[in-house]
Amino acid sequence: MDYTNNQLHIIYGDATFGVNGKDFQYIFSYERGGLESLKVHGKEWLYRVPTPTFWRATTDNDRGSGFNLKAAQWLGADMFTKCTDIHLKVDGHDFAELPIAPFNNKFSNHEYAKSAEISFTYQTLTTPATNAKIIYNIDDVGHIKVTMRYYGKKGLPPLPVIGIRLIMPTAATGFDYEGLSGETYPDRMAGAKEGKFHIDGLPVTEYLVPQENGMHMQTKKLTINRETTQNNVDRTNEKFSLSIQQAEKPFNFSCLPYTAEELENATHIEELPLVRRTVLVIAGAVRGVGGIDSWGTDVESAYHINPELDHEFSFILN
């Protein structure tokens, strides 16, 4: 098939929405509630669908100030995701219903478009509940702008983080980013230098008790490098990469081999599982780490995330 005409090849599947182009293939799953496959140059980048993330492995200061007790509902909301609505738009056309059978019987294998937008609404497992929406906007060359919109609601507990978690099938060999040196947080950025940085592997900062670590604030671009896949016919072991670029504003990220829950559950570094995947968190809002004391004083209020306000952030996958 010829994809040189800057057109997206659209597959209106029975359970998925497929978007193909030159050197890429995306599958959005109506069943799994998200982007199931992000295949670029023949390499799969997703292990499971990306989900909103609301938890960070609590820091010593989080526990000392009792933040973990106040925020605990977000741990459940982070682990378990409830997708309540999916909305599709192709070349500006709003589908009132998802185009599955019998509606999709009218389509063929020759459906093309210049753009597509699919959004997934997730209801948080909190009391009260609120919604978070992840919107994927795909342009004619296959770049995906990902936007997450969090809807604030009165009465929600304080938030550890607002982000999107992408889990990749194998461990990255390293990553390169353009942003701030070292591990940074909103209340700990002053000492960082701006520049381009290369990181080997997926280092976990070895705090005595594993906890939130590895955040990089104010990033313009991130490239993740892998060499391995889970594909049984792919044994090439050559480096391949995925880039994430800022949209309107720089983004924040951590790129680790573990989820927040895996970190949270370990009392020592050596209890963490063997490194086998890449867990990328793109965070729109990051809570500070604090440091006045570790037994009662909260992070300074300027570095809290207000759960009652709306938050929105974007980035571009290409």
């Binding site: 820091t59 010593d60 700990r188 705090y207 005595l208 570790s294 992070v299 300074e300 570095y303």
Partner: protein, 628 residues
Amino acid sequence: MQANINWLDNPEVFRVNQLPAHSDHPFFRDYREWQKQHSSYQQSLNGKWKFHFSANPMDRPQDFYQRDFDSSNFDSIPVPSEIELSNYTQNQYINVLFPWEGKIFRRPAYALDPNDHEEGSFSKGADNTVGSYLKRFDLSSALIGKDVHIKFEGVEQAMYVWLNGHFVGYAEDSFTPSEFDLTPYIQDKDNLLAVEVFKHSTASWLEDQDMFRFSGIFRSVELLGIPATHLMDMDLKPRVADNYQDGIFNLKLHFIGKKAGSFHLLVKDIKGHTLLEKNEDIKENVQINNEKFENVHLWNNHDPYLYQLLIEVYDEQQNLLELIPFQFGFRRIEISPEKVVLLNGKRLIINGVNRHEWDAKRGRSITMSDMTTDINTFKENNINAVRTCHYPNQIPWYYLCDQNGIYVMAENNLESHGTWQKMGKIEPSDNVPGSIPQWKEAVIDRARNNYETFKNHTSILFWSLGNESYAGDNIIAMNEFYKSHDDTRLVHYEGVVHRPELKDKISDVESCMYLPPKKVEEYLQNDPPKPFMECEYMHDMGNSDGGMGSYIKLLDKYPQYFGGFIWDFIDQALLVHDEISGHDVLRYGGDFDDRHSDYEFSGDGLMFADRTPKPAMQEVRYYYGLHK
């Protein structure tokens, strides 16, 4: 005199037959030895010693110090080292509460009842482990025929010493040198030194520091051959004149032994120019008063300029007996009428850290390499000051601070928070030292040991009375000790915040710990009666050190704020082999089945325990670089 185990229970007995604390100056046979940094007057006893461990005093081999004792079943242990780290007894980390919490009920002697001696509290303590150390040695040729002293640089926590079956002395105060005269019992060959080390004594109430609780001979031990006439103590007071340009040199010398002959004294600058030269006859006490040095090169963090003092001691036949080299700087610390702390007439800002002595493999038995690494880390990260929390450090550390311009808050070995902080509440009903007469001399002795040993170090700008020990008459007495001995430094103590009515008697500066920036500002806005500092702030446990800018901003707004010491420099964690993962891993409190514990609270450092910096270090380097 015979040793008495009941001294362990008696707060009024803390040193027996110990030589008076004195300055830590080195002494060499001649210039060649100085150049080689090896004094033939010093014989190290470090190395393998015979060792027997007992779970409690009742089980200990009581007569192990006798010459005919059969020690063939003794093990061996390295000196210096921590007994726990040779796996004789459990590692335990605990912060505020005492290590016997939940196991033994104890109260400090005389704390609740002036007649209650609490006899047997430690001498019969089921948790009071005992290390029985034996060392056989011959005197090196340079020591034969001389008076011989033995110096223990650090022993936790109470020790009895015998030589060749004779009782020599007893010491507490784990973190300052204990020196005894062995001369009456010394032989040229085949001496048998016996040291009995108890983990607990009444000193345990005063040494309740937030740390792994170790015991043993954990710093170096050496013999000192004392020349016929010997400079035992010197008290160097280099002052800066009111014009902040000229130096005023004062020196007191105290000789022991024959006290005959003469000494030749020189002060040279870095280029080798002689600025002062004196030849005088030796008397027991000699004073050199108010020698004026014009336009001295002042000492500070950026320019730690040191002058070289040399004292050559000669006998009556003009033979050189010993050479004492010592480097010192001219610097002046004071508080202005506006309550600003000034160093050499300029505002002083402390970009400091608290530093426990720590090595992930050796515990508090740290090495020279640990110390030089730490100094380099300070310099790389704009750290200009250290608080020796909460005990005096190894002697070389103070020399390194002199040479590298690190401002030192030299803290006494004192922390008794378990006697007044109960689950976060202030409850001082059994507080020691408090105002209890029987505890007064013990804490004054700690002040004296700290002062006399380190008094000549230019880097020390503050004496600190200790940490978190509440406040009463005995802390006042410590403050008075420093005030009556040293008008060239400031005195610091934080714990008086709990007894504000004593603030005019304790501490030259207002000190708090972990006071949030807004509260600091409240103090500074209300016509502060004293300059303000945070002796501990930015608690660096785990992923932390956020919000430091809120403190640093106050430095620009309020000249009375002179900075603080981050808590703290290095995680306390032990490197152990994990059989499950096969890796060497860092373990913290509670990881040794030790209970009651405060778990990961042992790790609050800017550095991991293996001395790699935590990510937050770049933030510290930045903020501490703003007021260099």
